[in-house]
């Protein structure tokens, strides 16, 4: 943008129905914005992201020759891509758009203070308008996408994703840390709602994958290093036995690292008797027509399941979530085993058999006279083990009575928690995690399979507690995302990289040590040698720009000037911009 090309800014304030307008006086905000320097148009609209809102932006850009657009609506983490596309369709560079977050950061968190919220909204719009005036055109860059995918984790989700991608004609490197494929599902004797064993489901999948020439399977292996950017990742895979490392180049990544069953130490006498086991351990017992008591080898007569073990515990970090699979898995197991025991009880906090065919399992278990007894969430059942005998006491909510029972076997339906190396994975691929410890998707509703690391997808229980069918749905979805990128062969990348101004560089090397990616080197051809950024390696964190003592580094789209002008607009607004009109 040349200097004589003055900013002509359009400001669009969104009501978001009642979401913003219910708290913030959007008309007052738009009115204030209309008086700001550079603003040639300002309005408020019901839904800026709707077709009508988008058309309005495009029309006004053309009609008034706008060269900057500010939309004050929801979080840019949600709709920045939408509005960037809109301005681009009207011939404006996407980097000349700026978004103000009036919903997540104002109306929703200040619902009881409409006046102060409106003040805050005005400040934020004023800051954004000031920034907009300083925004600059940046080129839109495209890079090639290598036609191969790294799949991390060979459980049911990883296998499905691998097969989907390979069958569409792209190479897959499947990395599994264990010595065999199949993950948790492979261990299970009974899957709900079908009557198949895990092996029935997994083995054919593995066979088909092994026949596919496009798939390279690396067992006993882990990803040890990961760098690069969407379309062009460099992966190092280490064999855990030989410690040998192998390097690969891939275009996309699907993370299917799944879960591990929670080991409920300290819960319901777990560990005090071999006859108290988890549902996962029950599933791993050798197949037999009769269910045998582990300690005595005699047939089980009285069987008890306890639900929500390590799940749904408010205030306990990593255990607050519902593990989703356990109610249905318990109903299936209790219903199946009811025929082989005299009595089967399920002690539960709530029953959530939400999936297709799951409620039928619950109904079948009840029809077979599995006894369901509800306990209060703040008064959990107590298990005591004396001389090998298990005694269970609890309060039954519906009967309003204290009950007791002496089972031969107790099965704890434990939580799904992330695998113990989840932190390692999250650092390798720069993934953030949610409160339950699993990986965050890019957006929970709009982009549940992609992550904030462009080119890296997540599927299955890597994202949250899920059952096998849901994991497979995810896996096919994530595979489609990866294939979509690779089939196009090219993808747009952000142009917001660091740039060294050679004339200002004092060759001090500070930025070289600040950069986490080794993206800055010294250009020895230059006399004197100056720092230079390899743009493809730059992830645009801006650490170098903040570290440079000579202010020789410009962070495109996040320049010092663009940042400080916002600070100034907030704290030292020009009098006419205060909202009261010119004096």
């Amino acid at each position: 943008m040349t200097e004589n090309n003055e900013a002509r800014i359009g400001v669009f304030v969104c009501h978001c129905g009642h979401n913003i307008a219910g708290t913030v006086d959007v008309k007052e905000v738009a009115e204030m914005a209309s008086k700001l320097p550079g603003v040639v148009f300002s309005t408020d609209e019901m839904f800026m992201c709707s077709d009508a809102g988008q058309v309005l932006i495009r029309e006004k850009i053309k009609e008034l020759n706008l060269n900057r657009v500010v939309v004050a609506s929801c979080s840019p983490r949600m709709h920045e891509p939408t509005f960037r596309r809109v301005v681009e369709e009207a011939g404006m560079n996407r980097y000349l758009f700026d978004q103000v977050n009036l919903r997540e950061h104002v109306s929703w968190c200040h619902m009881r203070e409409p006046e102060l919220a409106t003040e805050k909204a005005k400040d934020l719009v004023r800051m954004s308008v000031a920034r907009a005036a300083k925004l600059e055109n940046l080129p839109v860059k495209r890079v090639n996408v290598l036609p191969s995918t790294l799949v991390v984790g060979g459980g049911i989700a990883g296998l499905r994703a691998t097969l989907d991608i390979a069958e569409r004609g792209f190479d897959v490197i499947l990395v599994e840390k264990n010595s065999e494929l199949g993950g948790n599902v492979g261990n299970w004797t009974h899957l709900f709602p079908s009557n198949q064993s895990g092996v029935d489901v997994i083995v054919p999948l593995i066979k088909t994958i092994k026949k596919n020439k496009r798939v390279k399977i690396l067992l006993d292996s882990k990803v040890s290093a990961f760098e690069g950017y969407i379309g062009n990742f460099n992966v190092t895979v280490k064999n855990l036995n030989t410690e040998k490392e192998e390097k690969f180049e891939v275009g996309t990544v699907v993370i299917t690292t799944g879960f591990e069953p929670f080991e409920p130490k300290g819960y319901y006498g777990y560990g005090e008797s071999p006859d108290i086991l988890t549902l996962a351990e029950l599933q791993k017992l050798p197949p037999s027509d009769t269910l045998l008591v582990p300690s005595t080898g005699k047939p089980v007569k009285k069987l008890v399941f306890i639900g929500c073990v390590g799940s749904r515990e408010p205030g306990v970090k990593g255990h607050e979530h519902c593990s989703r699979h356990c109610c249905s898995a318990t109903a299936k197991a209790a219903g199946d085993l009811r025929d082989r025991v005299d009595e089967a009880l399920v002690l539960y906090q709530d029953i959530r058999t939400y999936g297709s065919g799951h409620e039928e399992l619950h109904r079948l278990a009840r029809k077979k006279h599995v006894i369901y007894s509800k306990f209060p969430k703040d008064n959990k059942p107590k298990v005591t083990v004396k001389k090998g005998k298990i005694k269970l006491t609890w309060f039954d909510v519906l009967a309003g009575e204290n009950l007791e029972f002496e089972p031969d076997m107790v099965v704890l339906s434990t939580a799904m928690i992330p695998p113990d190396d989840v932190e390692e994975t999250s650092h390798l691929f720069s993934l953030t995690r949610s409160g339950d410890g699993f990986f965050n998707p890019e957006h929970i509703k709009l982009a549940p399979l992609t992550t904030h690391t462009a080119g890296v997808m997540i599927a299955g229980a890597a994202q949250a507690a899920k059952n096998a069918s849901e994991s497979v749905i995810d896996a096919s979805g994530a595979a489609a995302k990866a294939v979509g990128l690779m089939a196009q062969g090219e993808v747009e990348i952000e142009s917001t990289v660091a740039h060294v101004l050679p004339d200002l560089c004092s060759s001090c090397h500070t930025c070289l040590t600040a950069c986490p990616y080794g993206a800055i080197t010294m250009d020895v051809e230059h006399d004197p040698p100056v720092a230079v950024v390899t743009e493809a390696k730059c992830h645009s964190c801006g650490t170098c720009a903040a570290a440079c003592p000579s202010s020789a580094i410009v962070m495109y789209h996040s320049t010092d000037d663009q940042i400080l002008t916002m600070v100034e607009a907030f704290l030292c607004p020009a009098p006419e911009a205060e909202g009261g009109g010119s004096a």
Binding site: S75, R77, L116, T432, H452, T543, A546, C572, G580
Partner: protein, 146 residues
Amino acid sequence: MTVAETVTKQKEWEPKIMAYCCNWCSYAGADLAGTSRIQYPTNARILRVNCTGRISPEFILAALEMGADGVLVSGCHPGDCHYTSGNLKARARWAMMETAIEQAGVDPRRVRLQWASASEAQIFADGVRTLTEQVRKLGPIAREWK
């Protein structure tokens, strides 16, 4: 400005807080605070940067000089940075910056460095509340400049 407005402004001083948040953790945490309808003081104005590593001490000093009563810097937990280590650089600069502002006559209680992940909406909101209340007790910044 009308007389009535001037009077109101003098009567109800509200701390002005400049908040620098990284895009990946704290800005997202603030988004989640909104989505979860967690209510917190309106005083902070959030400015989004990619990483706390982008925040030069100059940005904090400039905000104080321009009249911010407090400055909040909020990023990913150490070890959880989207860019591996930008937040560690921010933390290292922080120690130096705190000394600098103290020497300039600014109470270091006016600045706050905190870690709040994308899922820690409550921690983010609590941080804004803590700093706002702290600054409210200290009064407007103009009093302190030496």
